[in-house]
């Protein structure tokens, strides 16, 4: 299947990207951002979309930024919109955010990660995608630029539904900041897919922080593939006090609302979610303890 005809623009600056996106016919912008193309091109090939113009952002120098930055307080990893998943996967700086390293092998296949971008995955906002879940679990910050200027959006507010985000059709996502892990934090990540590299039937990302006394200070859990967007819950109380497996089964009934399909019913996804969540929270708690001990040594 071939893509329908489109005009192709490759601007050199972010301002030109925004101008190209705004310059549609009539009120509706007719341009689409082309980043890695690993989700957009299949859409074109299947004739599910016919944008008049593709705006390739890969020649905008500013969007290639990839670095550890010091925010107020703790540090973060800033990933520009043109940075490939594979670059992030292999870079030493990425160790600052262990959850990215855990999730990345599940993002499609090697051959896709060499082109696909981290930001493109967030902008595409597939409900079963891994990186949006990582962003949601860590409460990453997403920077968006548009005709009205720039704004920073917390990941919790960014994902608005299946393939719908806080970035409008005239906006371009500039970068994402993932907070770096701090001592006493531990993480867990798992998913079940029909075949490795396929989108998850259900998956979880977990983050646990333990205090100086060794008790759980905070626990966050994000499920993906289970609703129309990543769903994040503070599970501190559940992890502290109760039988994890039972607590997660109860939580699953609340958060897993995706309709069943040929690959798994809603009930099956609830079971998957419950099992994965309990397992990964327990692992994250164990890693948090190890991390706290190493820090005090």
């Amino acid at each position: 299947m071939k893509a329908p005809p489109f005009a192709y623009v490759r601007p050199a600056t972010l301002d030109d990207v925004i101008a190209e996106l705004a310059g549609g016919t009539g009120d509706v912008p007719s341009g689409k951002v082309l980043a890695g193309g690993q989700s957009l091109v299949p859409v074109l090939a299947m004739r599910l979309g016919r944008p008049a113009t593709l705006v390739d952002i890969n020649s905008v120098a500013e969007l290639h930024g990839f670095e550890a930055i010091d925010g107020t307080g703790a540090g973060a990893l800033r990933i520009g919109a043109a940075v490939r998943q594979r670059t992030v996967e292999r870079a030493d700086v990425t160790r600052a955010v262990p959850l990215i390293g855990m999730a990345m092998p599940f993002v499609g296949h090697r051959e896709l990660r060499s082109r696909g971008t981290v930001v493109g995955s967030l902008a595409h906002a597939d409900p079963a995608a891994e990186l949006p879940a990582v962003a949601a679990c860590l409460d990453a910050t997403i920077e968006v630029a548009g005709p009205a200027g720039r704004r920073r959006v917390p990941a919790g507010d960014f994902f608005a539904g299946a393939m719908t985000t806080g970035a409008g059709p005239e906006d371009v996502v500039v970068s994402v900041d993932f907070p770096a892990a701090r001592p006493g934090e531990g993480f867990g990540f798992a998913e079940i897919a029909r075949r490795h590299g396929d989108f998850a039937l259900a998956g979880v990302a977990a983050k646990v922080r333990v205090g100086g006394d060794g008790a759980v200070a905070q626990a966050r859990l994000t499920g993906f593939g289970i609703s129309d967007r990543p769903v994040t819950r503070d599970v501190t109380d559940l992890v502290r006090e109760r039988d994890l497996r039972e607590a997660m089964t109860e939580l699953a009934a609340e958060v897993v609302d995706t309709a069943g399909d040929a690959h798994g019913s809603t009930g099956y996804r609830r079971r998957l979610f419950g099992v994965l969540a309990a397992r990964e929270l327990a692992k994250a708690r164990g890693r948090a303890h190890t991390s706290a001990e190493e820090a005090t040594r």
Partner: protein, 411 residues
């Protein structure tokens, strides 16, 4: 699962971003890139993906297409050193990029270790997934410090094999990984050459010399060493006396006129002749420019060496022995033994088909010799190139007859 660790040095991952550009939907744009070590310029509208550009503009049909939306992995090539789906990348995005396709990985004479391992482990059945599997596994093992065999099913899951050849494929990759713990050797067949595809020669770049469309005609016939691609032995009875038949064969002008699709272009002396021959077979139409050299004439025997090349990069060489003998009934038995050496696209014909086609052409040649001997004069024009339909029909009929005979015999 332990993710394989990579040293980035092996990957030419970063290159300066290509210059800003703007192309209308139906406008063709010139793209410069390096493909298997050759600099090429393509002219494509934006919607053409890299796999189609490689296949249709450069004739590099080793890159296969299955799904064209990123799922099957057939189209996997190296882009700036990393495996990527060529169907999810528009050619217009590849300005300045360095592409390596399976053709660049190794050649028939000098295969890459991965190619040898796939063959040794029977890692291919129909071979449709093989280019994708090779390029994906190259990407996995290049510059890779360690890949554990138990990780291979996951690491190789990006390419689908419909023939369930996975066991052999994974065994081959595991073998090469163990043999080359510090990374597999670089691609073996990347060097500057003229890439000419079905769409005609790639347009020359401003200031560049126009690439030679046809390879310069040789003055000596050189036969390759090694086993021929096909051998043919044909005997045909002609209803003319042997002296008459031999007169035709002994005069190269008359002989050439009897060759289907052939044309004598120039007599070079020393019994060497420059000519042109066209073979049309179904959708295939090849025109060979070449040389024939009669190296032996003795009684009613002769040996001819021939060589031809067509613009698509196919070459053929032949070592032909012709012999005419009288029959008791006063006719002639014409006998030909030929060893054929084929390379390039034409080699994709199976051995059997190449043999069948050659045999049919020889039979046509023999009929023309008979005709020429009978009328005593050279025909007005050269014998028409073998008609595709007639030839195919003849080949199929002959095969059917053989099958029927076999069935009868086995009763």
């Amino acid at each position: 699962m332990s993710a394989p660790s990579h040293t980035p040095a092996h990957h030419a991952a970063t290159r300066p971003a290509p210059r800003a550009t703007k192309v209308a939907a139906h406008e063709r744009v010139e793209i410069d890139m390096t493909v298997n070590g050759s600099e090429v310029t393509l002219r494509v509208p934006p919607r053409v993906h890299l796999a189609d550009a490689l296949r249709e503009q450069l004739g590099l049909t080793g890159t296969h297409l299955g799904c064209e939306h990123g799922v099957c992995g057939m189209c996997t090539v190296l882009v700036d050193g990393a495996a990527a789906r060529a169907c999810l990348l528009f050619a217009v995005q590849c300005e300045g990029a360095e592409i390596v396709t399976v053709e660049g990985l190794g050649s028939q004479e000098d295969q890459h270790p991965l190619q040898r391992a796939f063959s040794a482990h029977h890692g291919l059945q129909c071979g449709f997934c093989t280019p994708g599997m090779l390029m994906s596994s190259y990407d996995l093992l290049a510059g890779c410090a360690s890949v554990e065999p138990e990780d291979l099913p996951v690491e190789m899951s990006g390419v689908l094999c419909r023939c369930t050849g996975y066991r052999g494929i994974l065994a081959a990759v595991a073998d090469v990984a163990a043999e080359h713990p510090d990374g597999v050797p670089a691609p073996r067949n990347c060097r500057p050459r003229t890439l000419v595809g079905r769409g005609g020669p790639a347009p020359a770049r401003a200031g560049d010399a126009v690439p030679e469309a046809r390879p310069p005609a040789p003055v000596e016939v050189r036969l390759p060493s090694g086993a021929p691609s096909a051998t043919v032995e044909v005997r045909t009875e002609l209803g003319v006396p042997v002296e008459k038949a031999w007169e035709v064969l002994d005069d190269f002008h008359r002989l050439a006129a009897c060759l289907p699709g052939a044309e004598l272009v120039e007599v070079l002396g020393d019994d060497r002749y420059r000519g042109r021959a066209t073979v049309a077979l179904g959708p295939v139409k090849l025109t060979f420019d070449g040389l024939a050299h009669v190296v032996e004439r003795e009684g009613r025997r002769m040996r001819v060496l021939a060589q031809g090349a067509d613009t698509g990069g196919s070459t053929t060489q032949a070592d032909i022995r012709l012999r005419a003998e009288p029959t008791e009934a006063g006719g002639t038995v014409l006998q030909a033994d030929a060893a054929l050496f084929l390379s390039g696209r034409i080699a994709q014909f199976g051995r059997a088909l190449a043999g069948d086609v050659s045999r049919r052409m020889f039979e046509q040649f023999a009929r023309a010799v008979e005709e020429n001997a009978r009328t005593g004069r050279a025909p007005a024009g050269p014998v028409k190139p073998t008609s595709a339909l007639a030839l195919l029909a003849g080949v199929i009929a002959a095969r059917l007859r053989a099958v029927v005979r076999r069935i009868r015999r086995s009763r």
